[in-house]
């Protein structure tokens, strides 16, 4: 029962993250856009791994590929690796204080960016502009707030399910 409630929240927040990523921003702010889908997947991998496994990361990655029109399989690969690392270090990450957790998330996101860069390079693209590396910084900065928000939603759901 609880798992199903979590599952619904998981689906909703992942879809919301994908939608928010599509929202138009002024061109100057484009580079700052954080990898929201990745952050949400990492949150659920840490807090509710029974709903956010590698299979889900792969499927949502594919959906993201369709939505953003990139190479098919690119987001799938990146999300699978992100979630795998989060699951692998789950027990350490969960007991980190917030600042340290943010730092770990930063490392995960930078790793994700490096993968992205590799895929681009294989596709024949040149070196991206320096702004390419801004996104992990923003991602790590919003991580505590995203964590609090999703935690709050999850607790509320749990309380409302209990009579």
């Amino acid at each position: 029962m609880r798992a199903r409630g979590h599952y619904r929240l998981f689906l909703l927040s992942v879809l919301a993250a994908m939608l928010v990523a599509l929202l138009p921003l002024p061109t100057a702010l484009l580079a700052f856009k954080p990898m929201l889908l990745g952050l949400v997947l990492v949150y659920f991998a840490l807090e509710a791994p029974e709903v956010a496994g590698l299979g889900h990361a792969f499927i949502f990655g594919l959906i993201a590929d369709l939505l953003y029109g990139g190479i098919f399989g690119e987001h799938a690969l990146r999300m699978v690796i992100l979630v795998y690392l989060a699951l692998r270090f789950r027990f350490r990450l969960r007991f980190f204080p917030v600042a340290q957790q943010s730092a770990a998330i930063f490392a995960l996101l930078v790793n994700d960016r490096v993968l992205d860069l590799w895929i681009r390079m294989f596709g024949g693209a040149g070196w991206p502009p320096i702004a390419f590396w801004l996104s992990p910084v923003v991602g790590a900065a919003i991580w505590p707030w995203l964590f609090l928000l999703l935690d709050g939603l999850r607790l509320k759901r749990r309380q409302s399910e209990r009579p």
């Binding site: 590698l54 792969f58 029109g69 399989g73 699978v80 502009p129």
Partner: protein
């Protein structure tokens, strides 16, 4: 590795746990998909199917931007004014497309190229499309358009703005279409140097300000400032639309080929409307009149031109 992972997570999380086997399988699958995607066609088809499902998502995501724009219009102008503005812009784009065509025809006439002359019978067949205000990956050279198959847009159609060639439609859904820009590293475009008539191919580099012309002969007659025009090779664009200006020509010592770089003519950031150019068909634009009058053999069909097969273009394409 698998065993250790399982024991570390405990039985409670066995299902969602990070199984290395699963990781390897999924990674292999993702890599296979990426490789398959490089072979054009197969996955584009899938993407076109998927557009049917994702179109509502884009509409939802574009809504705030569109609402803002509508609000701005409502405050500043009347609706009628906005409509007139849009009409004028379309007319301007059409006219410009026509002008470029005429210019190229003049050049063609001077060089007395019979093949190009024959092609001048056609007119530009185009649809005006708007760029949907959603952010795809900012570091990739892709766009989303608000016209799809229901408006006659299909995969491979050329895209231009008031200044020049912008890109091509890479996947067309029912009401939206993905476009790939000429600056994308996966894009190549046959062009013609306007000064000399030299035909070559220009490639995207992934840099929004630069295109590349590799593999030019060392003796190539190409100067900084030369304008590259679209050529009829490939049949995607009408000949003579500006593509880029050459910014530098390099002849590295010891290399077998010269390399040139060019800067795209179109300004992507600023324009919201684009023209989707439909490839010209063998039979030309539909003109049922001669048939209806029943005097088809006597009246010369105005735009019907079966003498310009893509086969000729293909011959040109082979270097």
């Amino acid at each position: 590795m698998v065993g250790r992972g399982a024991s570390e997570q405990g039985p409670l999380f066995a299902e969602g746990g990070a199984s290395t086997l699963k990781l390897v399988v999924l990674l292999a699958l993702a890599i296979m998909l990426m490789l398959a995607d490089r072979q054009r066609g197969l996955l584009d088809l899938l993407r076109e199917r998927a557009l049917r499902l994702t179109e509502p998502v884009y509409a939802l995501a574009a809504w705030p931007g569109e609402a803002m724009q509508a609000l701005r219009f409502a405050v500043r102008d009347r609706d009628a004014l906005a409509a007139e503005n849009a009409q004028l812009r379309e007319a301007l784009l059409q006219a410009q497309a026509e002008t470029y065509r005429h210019r190229s025809e003049a050049a063609a006439g001077e060089r007395a190229l019979a093949l190009l002359d024959a092609r001048s019978q056609r007119h530009v067949d185009a649809v005006l499309a708007r760029i949907v205000d959603v952010d795809l990956d900012p570091f990739r050279h892709r766009l989303l358009l608000d016209r799809g198959r229901s408006n006659g847009v299909s995969r491979g159609d050329g895209l231009m703005d008031a200044l020049g060639v912008v890109g091509q439609v890479s996947a067309a859904g029912p009401d939206t279409a993905f476009a790939i820009l000429i600056t994308d590293p996966a894009h190549a475009l046959p062009v013609e140097v306007s000064r000399t008539g030299l035909k070559t191919i220009v490639y995207g580099t992934g840099d929004g300000e630069e295109l590349k012309l590799p593999n030019l002969p060392l003796s190539v007659d190409l100067e900084v400032g030369d304008r590259l025009l679209s050529s009829a090779v490939g049949g995607r664009f009408p000949p003579g639309i500006p593509v880029a200006d050459v910014t530098r020509v390099e002849r590295p010592a010891g290399a077998a080929f010269a390399v040139a770089y060019a800067r795209p003519v179109s300004v992507l950031g600023r324009n919201r409307e684009l023209l989707v150019l439909r490839p010209q068909t063998l039979v030309g634009p539909p003109d049922p009149e001669p048939l209806q009058r029943g005097v088809a053999p006597l009246t010369p069909p105005p735009a019907t031109d079966p003498a310009t097969p893509p086969a000729a273009a293909a011959d040109e394409a082979t270097p």
